[in-house]
């Protein structure tokens, strides 16, 4: 199984002897290229065109994060899976307002249902959040009544606001209060973790989109602006609650990350190196964790589950099978 290679150290990465070679001040190592699915680069890494051309040939994506851990951008090699048919279908479903709304709705459905399954877990563990569960269920009744994607985005935002109210009661730690959702810059520890986790999720989905026939620039819920990636934001909505939020609860619950792991900077509240590595490592563990898939009748990793989700979208666009978002059962 191919792996995501996370690079935190500073150094030079290059092609050498038909594979990848990474050199830092005190260490040299080979990274067998056939084992790499993509790179997440956090350190100050030097690379050249020869490396990029090798990476493109091997169809590997590279995601760059800046000094503060914020997502900078991706090296998304030229599309290798080209299906004019699929691009036309993807556009057709974007341009037709009803068809677009229909898919966007399913992203919101998947998103809120997965929020509910996170809440359900904590309700069963005695957390007093039933009122939030109830409010989300009430609001979800508005979803089918939307007739534009903007309205849908509005409902989605309202649901998310209510959902975040549960965080303080679940985490129950005065160092990690939610206050309000703040990004660019995140104004407190918890928001900083949410932003970091979400950006990992976005790029992971982007990497999976690269391995399908879908174009990441054509999303349905988030407005396409034709240059930026948006389909990955759409699909991430489904997985954020069950991957990112659960990860944050577990890191805080087990006291693996505390307030000492943050520093304030011009760019807001950011995770220090040690915590960032730990966060990424735990994220990777989660992506590799497997669950039993009912239709396939075998275990699949969460990472694979993202791919399956994209396949379902492709089949929807083909007119073969209506898309129904993944909903976690626990």
């Amino acid at each position: 199984m191919k792996k995501v290679i996370y690079i935190f150290n500073d150094g030079e990465i290059k092609r050498k002897d038909n594979t990848i070679f990474f050199e830092t001040d005190d260490k040299k190592s080979y990274i067998p290229i056939e084992d790499v699915s993509d790179f997440f680069i956090f350190g100050e890494v030097t690379l050249n065109k020869r490396f990029l051309s090798y990476i493109s040939q091997k169809e590997i994506t590279i995601h760059f994060f800046n000094y503060y851990g914020y997502y900078m951008g991706s090296y998304y090699p030229r599309e290798h899976l080209n299906s004019g048919y699929m691009i036309l279908k993807q556009s057709e479903y974007y341009l037709n307002e009803d068809k677009r709304l229909n898919i966007a709705m399913e992203f919101v459905n998947g998103s809120y249902k997965n929020m509910l399954s996170v809440l359900k877990y904590y309700i069963n563990r005695g957390k007093d959040i039933s009122d939030i569960d109830e409010s989300i269920k009430n609001l979800s009744r508005e979803i089918p009544k939307c007739f534009t994607t903007n309205q849908l985005m509005g409902i989605e935002g309202n649901i998310r606001d209510i959902y975040y109210k549960s965080f303080d009661r679940i985490i129950n730690n005065k160092d990690f209060v939610f206050e309000k959702r703040s990004r660019r810059p995140p104004e407190n520890y918890l928001n900083s973790m949410i932003s970091f986790g979400n950006s990992l999720m976005y790029v992971m989905v982007l990497s999976e989109i690269y391995k399908t026939h879908l174009d990441p620039r054509i999303g349905y819920l988030h407005s396409t602006n034709f240059r930026r990636f948006t389909l990955n934001l759409d699909v991430s909505e489904i997985f954020k609650p069950i991957i990112v939020d659960r990860l944050i609860f577990s890191l805080l619950g087990r006291k693996m990350i505390t307030k000492e792991d943050f520093e304030e900077d011009m760019e807001g509240i950011i995770l220090k190196d040690r915590a960032r590595k730990l966060f990424v490592q735990e994220f990777d563990n989660r992506m590799r964790a497997t669950i039993k898939h009912r239709q396939l009748g075998r275990n699949v990793s969460y990472r694979r589950l993202i791919r399956l989700e994209l396949y379902k979208i492709e089949k929807h666009l083909m007119g073969e099978k209506p898309y129904s978002a993944f909903v976690s059962r626990w």
Binding site: E59, S83, Y85, M86, L296, E309, Y311, G319
Partner: protein, 166 residues
């Protein structure tokens, strides 16, 4: 859907899975991470290096093409002889297409892993079968949606299986 043409790959899949024919015709290729895809690629890249490879003639692409005792010999390389019928028809289709261009050739199926070769020649019966098959393949391709997935024994190792069953 104007420029869909039958090619050797579609013939090959026709005898294995009709749904796959439709998907292939739309360039919806299978999961490239599948380990069997890797094995296939490896065999393709590393076998018969001394002979001419991958020759395109019209919309067909043959693995190996050479002269042999004054005849044109077309070779098709396969991982195993498990899908022999499929491979035979694919190669016969190439010979049939060459014949249209006025070239009479002979075919040879090659299974490097099994060190096995099978000779193929066109005859009236095979030509009739090919004509019939062409019609049936076009019939599949011109449909708006693919045939529903059906669980068959090939699904087990198929690189499309996650696509079909997700």
């Amino acid at each position: 859907m104007e420029d869909i043409k039958i090619n050797g790959t579609l013939v090959w899949y026709y005898y294995i899975c009709k749904r796959e024919v439709w998907l292939m015709s739309r360039k919806i290729v299978a999961d490239q991470d599948n380990k069997f895809m890797d094995i296939g690629r490896f065999i393709h890249e590393n076998s018969y290096g001394r002979e001419k490879k991958e020759i395109s003639i019209g919309n067909i692409k043959v693995d190996v093409l050479k002269r042999h005792k004054g005849n044109v010999l077309v070779g098709e390389v396969k991982k195993s002889s498990k899908f022999q019928e499929s491979a035979k028809m694919q190669l016969a289709y190439y010979l049939y297409k060459l014949k249209e261009y006025g070239i009479d050739g002979e075919g040879i199926l090659m299974f490097p892993k099994e060190r096995k070769r099978i000779e193929i020649k066109l005859n009236d019966k095979i030509i009739a079968d090919i004509k019939d098959m062409e019609k049936k393949i076009l019939n599949i391709i011109y449909k708006d949606i693919p045939q529903e997935p059906k669980k068959i024994k090939y699904c087990k190792n198929c690189a499309y299986s996650e696509f079909c069953w997700s």
